[in-house]
Amino acid sequence: MHGDLGNKLVQQAKRTQNLAHLPPYQTELVRAVTREVRDLDKDVAALLEPFQGSFHPTDDQAVACTLLVNHLSMRRNKRCLLAYHHTRTDKLEKLVWKGYDVVDLAGQQVGDGSVNAGGASNVANGDGSMNNLSPQEEDYVRQYSDLLAAYKGQWTDIDLTGSLEPPRDLFIDVRVLKDAGEIQTEYGQFYVRQGDVERLIAQGYLQKLS
């Protein structure tokens, strides 16, 4: 019956809430639900057609009931669609705040095609969630990142997305997972100041060695 597909979408959203990464965007399902809404709208138009704009619910209660059912089904589908996308954008915003360079990672993976086999699990996650975005979601992430960067830019002496854990040591050992080009830090190559490389760790270029 109407609304069953929307329900599937919400069940997907429910699963998404409990996952660390973002599962693939359900293009087909979303399309099917919107198609259902369009069909329902056509049904409504067809039902009202013979009345020529002078329909009185009291005169024909069966039609009034059908119209109400159609209307409620459309409204239900709308809520399912919105909630599904809302759950996903929530997750994307969280990823952006955590400093995963979601959009960049995708570009790289498409670009060189070879993902470092020794990559840590969070690297795989970053890559995995990226390819699962719809084009609109990619755009959303890009613009949200820009907004966040502009917001952060107001304070130069504090990194809003930095770790809240006080570091045990000022310097840490890191392992390079992916070629990141020439990177200059103040003190050296592999024994580096944690604050300097926090972002590279979050993006998956480096792995912290404890």
Binding site: M1, G3, N7, V10, Q11, A13, K14, Q17, L47, P57, T58, Q61, A62, V63, A64, C65, T66, L68, V69, L72, S73, R75, R76, R79, C80, L82, A83, H86, T87
Partner: protein, 188 residues
């Protein structure tokens, strides 16, 4: 409860029995019979998002001596039937609520908004309180042993519905967090 609340939306999909009060030619598909009109008096399980408003929408009486009626009349779903209520009265812990409905309390509160059922209300409250104590007990044990308490009380935990699962997870995380913090204190 927010518009985007996934659990609220899933609760909205729970089915309740509805009896149609009029013939509707176009709605046969609701009864899996699209070719036939839906006859007055047919009872079908409809999701709450449909049933509630169909039951609340008033239609004007067609003749003067008829009372104002709605399109459908609602009934309590099987999850809140007398049998389930008796079982809960006997021992709230012995009933796997999940088998009745994944959103058992959610469904209960929605139905009690529509029905004046003092007794069901009282039974549900007592059930929640009694089970919550048990959930906290299991969660504390599981949190302290690092696994999710597999083995002990497995049958009971399998029967938890969504609210209870959330409660379990919060209690579990709380116990685990306390344990970690205590260990951190000892180190310094």
């Amino acid at each position: 409860m927010s518009y985007y609340d996934i659990d609220a939306i899933l609760t909205d999909a729970e089915k309740v029995p509805c009896k149609f009060e009029l013939d509707v030619p176009e709605l046969g598909y609701l009864d899996n019979n699209p070719a036939q009109p839906l006859k007055s008096g047919t009872t079908i399980g409809l999701p709450l998002w449909l049933a509630e408003l169909l039951a609340l929408a008033n239609r004007v009486p067609s003749t003067a001596d008829e009372d104002a009626k709605s399109f459908v009349s609602l009934n309590l779903p099987p999850a809140l039937s007398n049998e389930v209520m008796s079982a809960l009265k006997a021992d709230p812990r012995a009933v796997p609520l999940r088998d009745q409905s994944h959103n058992f309390y959610g469904l209960g509160t929605r139905m009690l908004d529509l029905f004046e059922e003092k007794e069901i209300c009282a039974v549900l409250r007592r059930t929640f309180v009694t089970r919550a104590a048990d959930i906290a007990l299991h969660a504390g044990k599981a949190g302290a042993t690092d696994d999710m308490g597999v083995g002990a009380g497995e049958e009971f935990l399998r029967g938890l519905e969504e609210w209870e699962r959330k409660l379990f997870k919060k209690a579990h995380d709380g116990a685990k967090g306390t344990k970690e913090w205590m260990e951190g204190v000892k180190k310094h």
